[in-house]
């Protein structure tokens, strides 16, 4: 997050009409400039970027943080004339001197795509001057590498001096990849590897934590909740398969549903035992008959205070788990119909391991159900 003012020098000489970079050198350069602008402003919103065209060393856009303005002027640039490397760099330095951010670091990014006619001595002199003024220069060498590489290497080395590493030279061979080559280069990535990932895809969830921290946080939290839920499921099936008699107390209704769904779904496949809620021996769904399954379901639902979540199978021939799960919605109707038969209920209760049919509570319940059944029968008879 370096606080920096950058001037980008674009080469707008006639050499930029060349098509060795796809589609033309000028277009490839424009994409690359776009990339650099974005990366500078993204790494620190207070950064300023300016634009200069090298052919007659004219400042197109003075230092600003408005990337739109820079791009607009950039697209109006036409290839014309010949560049003067030294003049351009000097004017860029002057423009940097008149920056608003007095504590910003100074940087010049130069795109060179045409042969430099200037003497190497002159170039080194400029480099030394810039080094004294603590300006860092990144040079992107493309197009005319053969002629320029030596001079530019000398330039960058002179600026860096003995120990400095803040100026870089990037040489890009011809091809369609000027911007791509820059993406991984030190021009964008910076000295310490910071400031890379440019697009939203670089960030988790496609959201920049810097730009929208709340959204990023919300996404992360929901992701973790989902993960925790899944882990719980996996843990429970794992526990079931080992057959431990772990007392997994049914904390919530949803958990029960989940267990049953899991157990039910595994009925056709393998013998999966769902951990019991009361701590009695593990119940093996596959081995139970239809009736036993119903009984178990009823028992579970009774134990939770009659909460109506037992996936009572509607059609007894259809013992598929999916049917059970789907018909959870029709529970109440199923439940009431099944419950309407007190004899059946009595049978069930007697077969349940943990329930004492003679307990008062059950007797009361049975009586009330029987009464209501009688009442409904009476009602049915009356209208007739």
């Amino acid at each position: 997050m370096v606080l920096e003012s950058t001037i980008i020098c674009v080469d707008n000489s006639d050499y930029m009409r060349n098509g060795d970079f796809v589609p033309t050198r000028m277009q490839a350069q424009q994409d690359a400039v776009n990339l650099v602008c974005m990366s500078k402003t993204r790494s620190n919103p207070e950064n300023n970027v300016g634009l200069l065209k090298m052919a007659n060393a004219e400042v197109l856009v003075t230092l600003t943080s408005d990337v739109g303005r820079i791009l607009a002027r950039l697209h109006q640039v036409q290839p014309q004339g010949q560049i003067n490397f030294v003049t351009a760099v000097r004017v860029a330095h002057l423009a940097l001197k008149h920056r608003q951010g007095r504590n910003h670091k100074l940087r010049i990014v130069v795109f060179v795509g045409s042969p430099i006619e200037i003497d190497e001595k002159e170039i080194i002199k400029v480099a030394k001057r810039l080094k004294k003024e603590k300006v860092n220069v990144d040079v992107v060498n493309f197009g005319e590498e053969a002629i320029n590489t030596d001079k530019l290497t000398a330039f960058v080395n002179a600026i860096n001096g003995k120990d400095g590493t803040s100026s870089h030279l990037v040489t890009v061979p011809p091809g369609p990849m000027l911007s791509d080559a820059l993406l991984s280069s030190p021009v964008i990535v910076g000295e310490d590897g910071a400031g890379a990932s440019m697009t939203g895809a670089g960030f988790e969830f496609g959201v920049d934590p810097n730009e929208d921290p709340e959204l990023a946080l919300a996404l992360r939290v929901s992701m973790e909740e989902q993960r925790a839920r899944q882990e719980k499921e996996i843990r429970e099936t794992a526990v079931a398969t080992t057959g431990e008699a772990a007392a997994v107390t049914a904390a919530s209704v949803e958990e029960e549903q989940l267990q049953r769904a899991l157990g039910g779904s595994l009925v056709p496949d393998a013998a999966v035992s769902v951990p019991p809620t009361t701590g009695s021996s593990a119940v093996d769904f596959a081995a139970m008959t239809e009736e036993e399954q119903i009984a178990y379901a009823m028992k579970l639902s009774m134990e939770t205070g009659g909460e109506d979540d037992a996936p009572a199978p509607m059609e007894t021939d259809d013992g598929e788990a999916s049917a059970k799960v789907e018909q959870k919605k029709d529970e109440e109707e199923d439940y009431s119909e099944v419950m309407d038969d007190p004899d059946f209920l009595q049978n069930v209760l007697q077969s349940l391991p943990g329930v004492d049919p003679n307990s008062d509570v059950i007797q009361n319940a049975m009586r009330s159900i029987a009464d209501s059944k009688k009442d409904s029968k009476k009602d049915e008879k009356k209208p007739k």
């Binding site: 060393a57 003075t62 003049t87 000097r90 004017v91 002057l94 008149h98």
Partner: protein, 151 residues
């Protein structure tokens, strides 16, 4: 009141005292910083029947390299913004030219004039001497004339 005509050729330039004061103040400000080079600014006013009335001015950030005459920088974004703000309070004033404190003409004045010509094709340059040695008008006005040379 007849509208100011822009196309009549200028034969006289009248500089208001406000402009002179402003230029000298700018020069002294820059002098305190230690930068005793010349200062550059833009002139505002109107052209009435060949008489250019320079009524206001403002300074612009300007820098040049002493040794290399072709290296100079003038902040044109600042110029445009400032002019826009001036227009808000006095719509009649237009950019009519530019000034510098010379005291003499410089080789890159032509290049700078070209830049100012983008805002007004008939821009004049007024050299205002902030430290005059003799009595008399401290100002000298120039217009650029294009000549075709047979080389």
């Amino acid at each position: 009141m007849s509208p100011p005509d822009h196309h009549v050729k200028i034969n006289k330039v009248v500089v208001h005292p406000l402009v002179l004061l402003s230029v000298v103040d700018h020069f002294n400000r820059m002098g305190k910083v230690g930068n005793v080079k010349r200062v550059v600014g833009v002139l505002l006013g109107s052209n009435r029947q060949g008489v250019l009335d320079v009524s206001n001015s403002f300074a612009v950030p300007f820098d040049e390299d002493d040794k290399d005459q072709s290296v100079w920088f003038l902040d044109h974004d600042y110029l445009e913004h400032m002019y826009g703000m001036f227009k808000k309070v006095n719509a009649r004033e237009r950019i009519v030219g530019w000034y510098h404190t010379g005291p003499k003409l410089h080789p890159n004045d032509i290049a700078i004039s070209e830049m100012i010509r983008r805002y007004n094709p008939a821009a004049v340059l007024v050299v205002i001497d902030a430290k005059p040695k003799e009595l008399g008008l401290p100002t000298e006005a120039y217009i650029s004339v294009e000549e075709v040379h047979d080389v």
